[in-house]
Amino acid sequence: MAGTHVKLIGSFLSHLRELAPFIIRRIFYSIGVVAFVSVVVFALVSISGDPLANLRENPRIARSDIARIEQRMGLNKPKYVQFGYWLRDSVRGSGEWSTSFSYRAPVFPIIWDRFKNTLVLMSVTVLVCLVIAIPLGVFSALRQYSKLDYAVTALSFFGLSMPVFWFGLILQLVLGFYLMQALDLRQPLFFTASMYTTGFEHDWLNRARHLVLPVTTLALATVAGWSRYQRSSMLDVLNQDYLRTARAKGLPESRVIAKHALKNALIPVVTIVAIDLAYLLGGAVVTETIFAWPGMGRLFVQALEQRDFPMVMGNIIFTSVLLVVFNLLADVIYGFLDPRIRQE
């Protein structure tokens, strides 16, 4: 068994070496994309409101003080100079990016901190979604036009048409509040806000009870998408000639499905999962807002509301980098799993 793993890693490394020119080209291109994003966002942010509006409206703050703050934050400079400042602060060796207006601290460590919380939420979500979506998709493909298949199709249409925030609110009201009333509890069985109850930081049951509702909320749409994708990919494979060959040479059906069909049907799904993963890790803005989850998404909403532009910029750049990296990763893995793609 160990031998096959070593062989697998070896062939993956040789695949990487083969792809090196492609990867390098893609990295340069990705830098271009991130630069494009940062210019667009900076332009948008610049024409947006004045971060000092609140201070200006306050009659007790002297004009000279405001001028001093402007000076310190560089807000009195022309926009392109401000962009230069931002760029300089962001690429400077310390890896701290520029300074947040509202936290008065470097942006990157704050984002990183919140990112870890998002990571907790998303790892559980992705695990749950994979465990549900893959079998659902496979079985509905194996029994096409059966009751199960129709039920899965109906569920996926429903999941894709349901706005995430409304589903989250319903869960809060029904599984949070009404369930608590029905069971006559003093605390909800499934908590509706935050990551853990203060003081219960190391109580895993408490953490799990906080995870149930946000994970369910995120899972609905994700399971709907992935199971649908798995179904159609499985259907494609089931029509292939090599499956008939496998059956003809006398393999038991279970082996035909597990070894020959499923293995191939999973390949395109890997790509979708990798790309969705980037979106999820970038912070589920809506879900984190509803369930007061202290992750990247909520940080972004708060930064926008406070007009903390360095934080907004940092957040979007971080998300775009994630997207670009996972896209590249998806392509590399896809090429490794499906050698036919490598020709291009």
Partner: protein, 331 residues
């Protein structure tokens, strides 16, 4: 024996056909099969594209129902406010009341009639959906058309740009744009429509481009060119009509996507600004008083799901009905 038969009827069960003497018999399962020696001469009416489309479309029951639901929703949104005795922003000092005879969906915490507000919100949401879809389809078609028809450098340039646009993190950007709109006190609905239209065209552009790339090598295009047809004529008379199916399907789906995105933005406070009601900002409002006035939470959400579900089913039905390679409709 002469048989004139068009492709669509070839495998369709239960299609009747007319014998020479004018009697109608089913094409399948009759003793007088025209294919047997001595069988009757049959005549099957030629069908126009439109008839074939309709025959296939009406097989998809859910899509037909969805089209009806959507039509009803649009009619309610257009004429509903004229029939309602209440106005959407008139504040009554009665506070929030659960559903009753005079207020079928209850009133919100400012005493405004919830049903009137849902209908008004529907005006906004449905309008946003349709206009964004048409706008993005327009931009996408033009970009895809130019890229696919001229190919080469222009294609490369336009597609690189499209890829760049696809790499933009959509929701965060929309939120920043929504904040600007709120700050500048522009009419939030039209601003949101334009912004969404400018960020949703990429899928259509890619579809149209790949369709054009495939079609422009076909013989009938070559023939048209040999006969001296101008680029413009080839594009509008030969390429575009043959690319219409993916455009229509995608445009339909964008209606649903735009309604969802608008509601998310409004829910987070970066979309349609109160007091103008939209389904999203009504739910944002309902969220803060969810436990006290739970009835406020249901109607806007049901409205969104109903609309988007119908749009998605309609898109599915259109995809099946517009696919020219599909001879047989789904079972």
């Amino acid at each position: 024996m002469m048989i004139r038969q068009d492709k669509a009827t070839e495998k369709e069960p239960n299609v009747t056909t007319q014998l020479r003497d004018g009697t109608e018999v089913p094409l399948e399962g009759t003793d007088r099969s025209p294919l047997e020696p001595g069988g009757d001469l049959i005549y099957v009416a030629g069908r126009t594209q439109g008839q074939m489309f309709w025959l296939r479309f009406k097989r998809h029951k859910l899509a037909v129902v969805s089209a009806g639901v959507l039509l009803a929703l649009y009619l309610i949104a257009i004429f509903g406010p004229m029939l309602s005795p209440y106005s959407f922003d008139k504040i009554e000092y009665t506070g929030a009341k659960p559903p009753s005879m005079s207020h079928p969906l209850g009133t919100d915490e400012l005493g405004r009639d919830e049903m009137t507000r849902v209908i008004y919100g529907g005006r906004i949401s449905l309008m946003v959906g349709i206009v964004v879809a048409v706008l993005s389809a327009g931009i996408g078609t033009v970009v895809g058309m130019i890229a696919g028809f001229y190919g080469g450098r222009i294609d490369n340039l336009l597609m690189r740009f499209t890829d760049m646009m696809l790499a933009l993190p959509l929701l965060p950007l929309l939120m920043v744009a929504g904040l600007i709109v709120a700050d500048l006190k522009i009419d939030s609905m039209w601003a949101i429509v334009v912004i969404l239209g400018l960020l949703e065209w990429m899928a259509v552009a890619r579809l149209v481009r790949s369709s054009f790339l495939a079609l422009r090598e076909k013989e009938f295009v070559e023939a048209a060119r040999a006969m001296g047809a101008s680029d413009w004529r080839i594009i509008t008379q030969h390429l575009l009509p043959n690319s219409i199916a993916p455009i229509v399907v995608n445009t339909t789906l964008v209606v649903g996507a735009a309604i969802i995105v608008e509601s998310v933005l409004s829910f987070l406070g970066f979309g349609i600004q109160p007091p103008t009601p939209s389904w999203g900002n009504m739910l944002s409002n309902a969220r803060s008083t969810m436990v006290l006035y739970p009835w406020l939470m249901w109607a806007p959400g049901v409205a969104i799901v109903l609309t988007v579900l119908s749009v998605n089913f309609l898109g599915d039905g259109l995809r099946d009905a517009l696919d020219p390679t599909q001879v047989r409709v789904r079972e």
